[in-house]
Subunit: 403 residues, 2 copies
């Protein structure tokens, strides 16, 4: 499946689709040249380039239930998530903050406790990076709710991928002078939850970013405007939004959101805390529920990502995991970023079970559902990176296929 | 300027800014924890994640004059242009086309002339790629209109950078079977201009894309919804939008937009036609008109791109081109894509002239304005890739500085 140009059967790609491509009639040239739109001046431009009138993408908003809105990942191509379709998780609503009066306090075990205005931070040497953000609970619907009518968005819609720009946190820490005893940083939001998380200094000094821009423009309000923490590859809940302060200390603060929540209870009753790095994961986004396909050639498409670095390869099976073949990956394959994979498949009718499994550059492979359950137990809420599967039934309808 | 961490002077980055960063007062922690937003539940989510109320980016629309809207490149970070801020050039308004009734006719010197529906094309093996699109006339304001009050958008706002998804044109050509005599393809729009361009078969077989998606979602109406041609690295006017048909032939059609327009008259009166590949280019987007800066450390920021491939390096001068230093480039550095560069600079007062020059992987360097004028003459309209410069005056105000 590596190179489409080498596959002899691909000439049949459309021919096998059952006559959707019509042979040319002589009138077709005239028809192409005199479409209705060729006869009237089009509309004027607008200050923002609008979506086509018939294209109205939307997120699914679970406001009352859990304060989450999900990205329609099966409706999107490529790897960049449009900013207005980025998933959101909030704990006390979306605060309204003016950039002009914004202040970030950095204090604690530092030599020069400092209040930064947004313009101060924008002035510092910046970095841009394309990285995914994912909710730690992503995938739980596919693991817990044993239902067939789950779409890719219902299972994994709490992941999105953007180009983020900001100042590396290590630069700010150098500005204020971190004291030798420093080990952890408490990041606190100015939302009504005063949402807080403890961040190890090692991550802060590595690739953590104080991000003020997303896909070129200032952060969306829901994404932490005007400033958020971005911890690439880590569960999204650690990337605190609407930042108010960073307090450098010598131990974690043990706030609610890193003890009662976002910690992982193992089968033997032990609890994994501060297990922040997300594992390697993939999901086929087409074909998937609620699509129905006809016999013929199809391109299986999906997304893969890992909190540990780049995706090394993605394997796809159409027989429930007996045989696997390697999918193609679109450039660029970036660390801690969504990666688009593609694989050709000819459906000849009958039942088929489609599964994908990704391998990251650390060598880790996405586990089967059985392997994940054995390791994490039935009560697992977070870090659900088990393989996702879809069943194609005899009539071509596609359903989620819990392992 | 390569590694910010190696620069001993960067600790002074904010200190030299003149006291904008306040030392901590004891009340600051309480102030950070009890901001007004911490006392009230925030607003609910909306189906699309909105811009912050105070952020209203917009394009400059020159509708009556030339049918062009430009991207506010100096207001953006990173390399991805939000789809609603992508520049637009049109010749007869924006047609409204329904995806369901869309048809692309491919005919001429082919074995199987074919009408493709949009779903047929979406079904074929796809590719995503991050590539710039640029109007051939970009930069002409900086070369012709000798004015100081030009912003980066006024000079170079007709370039944008997106992730495009579609089917490689070579795949469609293989489906229809190109005959041996084929050399050129006429691409025709279904807008009211029936805008048309002749594309060499070599480009069509190389990296040309029939694009239906931009930054993850269907094309914006102004970008050719539901299907456009994308010729990476070539002048934007060749990437025909709102495609109606592709006619394979043995010679170029010599339509108006490749003879009277979009051809280049040289000083000796000869005309370069089908000079489609865009040269290597860069522009400093900060500091630039209409900004005013204070003495101290600043990060010079800008964009570089080339129609020939990847940017190899960008050099920056702060003395009008006498001394040059190498700027940092943000990852990823992709072929035929915007690349973000950064360089540190301490302004100590007095007049300074900031210039950038990019070098691409072919070894080509962005020419000086004098070199471009010598090669192309005073009447040049297109392919203006001369070096752009800004003058910082004694009071810190920044103006365009024509060469």
């Amino acid at each position: 499946m590596k190179n489409p140009d080498e596959k002899p059967s691909r000439r049949k790609f459309l021919g096998a689709a059952g006559g959707t491509v019509a042979a040319l009639a002589l009138g077709d040239v005239a028809r192409a040249q005199t479409k209705a739109t060729t006869r009237v001046q089009g509309r004027n431009m607008t200050s923002l380039s609008e979506r086509a009138a018939t294209e109205n993408p939307t997120r699914t908003v679970h406001e009352k239930l859990v304060g989450i809105a999900t990205t329609p990942i099966a409706e999107l191509d490529g790897i960049i998530t449009p900013s207005d379709l980025h998933f959101t998780r909030h704990h006390a609503g979306i605060p309204t903050i003016a950039a002009e009066s914004f202040e970030l306090l950095v204090h604690g075990l530092v030599g020069r406790p400092t209040v930064f205005k947004l313009d101060d931070l924008r002035r510092l040497p910046a970095r841009s990076m394309i990285r995914f953000l994912e909710c730690a609970g992503n995938g739980v619907a596919g693991l817990r709710a044993i239902r067939r009518d789950l779409s890719p968005e219902a299972i994994d819609g709490a992941t999105s991928n953007s180009e983020w720009t900001g100042v590396p946190l290590r630069t700010v820490l150098r500005e204020v002078g971190v004291k030798p005893a420093a080990r952890w940083i408490l990041a606190q939001s100015q939302d009504a939850a005063r949402y807080s998380r403890s961040i190890p200094l090692s991550k802060a000094q590595d690739d953590a970013l104080l991000a003020y821009a997303q896909n070129g423009e200032p952060l969306r309000a829901e994404q932490g405007y005007p400033l958020r923490l971005l911890l690439p590859g880590w569960e999204g809940s650690a990337s605190v939004k609407w930042l108010a302060r960073l307090e450098v200390g010598d131990e974690p603060t043990l706030v609610r959101e890193e003890t009662v929540r976002y910690s992982n209870i193992l089968p033997d009753g032990r609890v994994r805390v501060f297990e922040s790095e997300l594992g390697v994961k993939s999901i086929i986004t087409f074909p998937a529920f609620p699509r129905q396909i006809a016999p013929g050639w199809w391109e299986i498409r999906g997304l893969a990502w890992s909190g540990r670095g780049r995706i090394a390869r993605v394997e796809v099976s159409t027989d429930g995991g007996t045989r696997w073949s390697t999918a193609e990956l679109d450039d660029p394959v970036l660390p801690k970023a969504h990666t688009r994979f593609r694989a050709r498949w000819r459906w000849t009718g009958g039942t088929a079970v489609l599964v994908s499994r990704a391998v990251d550059e650390s060598g880790a492979m996405q586990p089967s559902t059985q392997e994940l359950r054995a390791e994490r137990g039935p009560g697992n809420d977070y870090h659900n990176n088990n393989q996702r599967a879809w069943i194609v039934e005899g009539d071509g309808r596609v359903f989620f296929y819990p392992g």
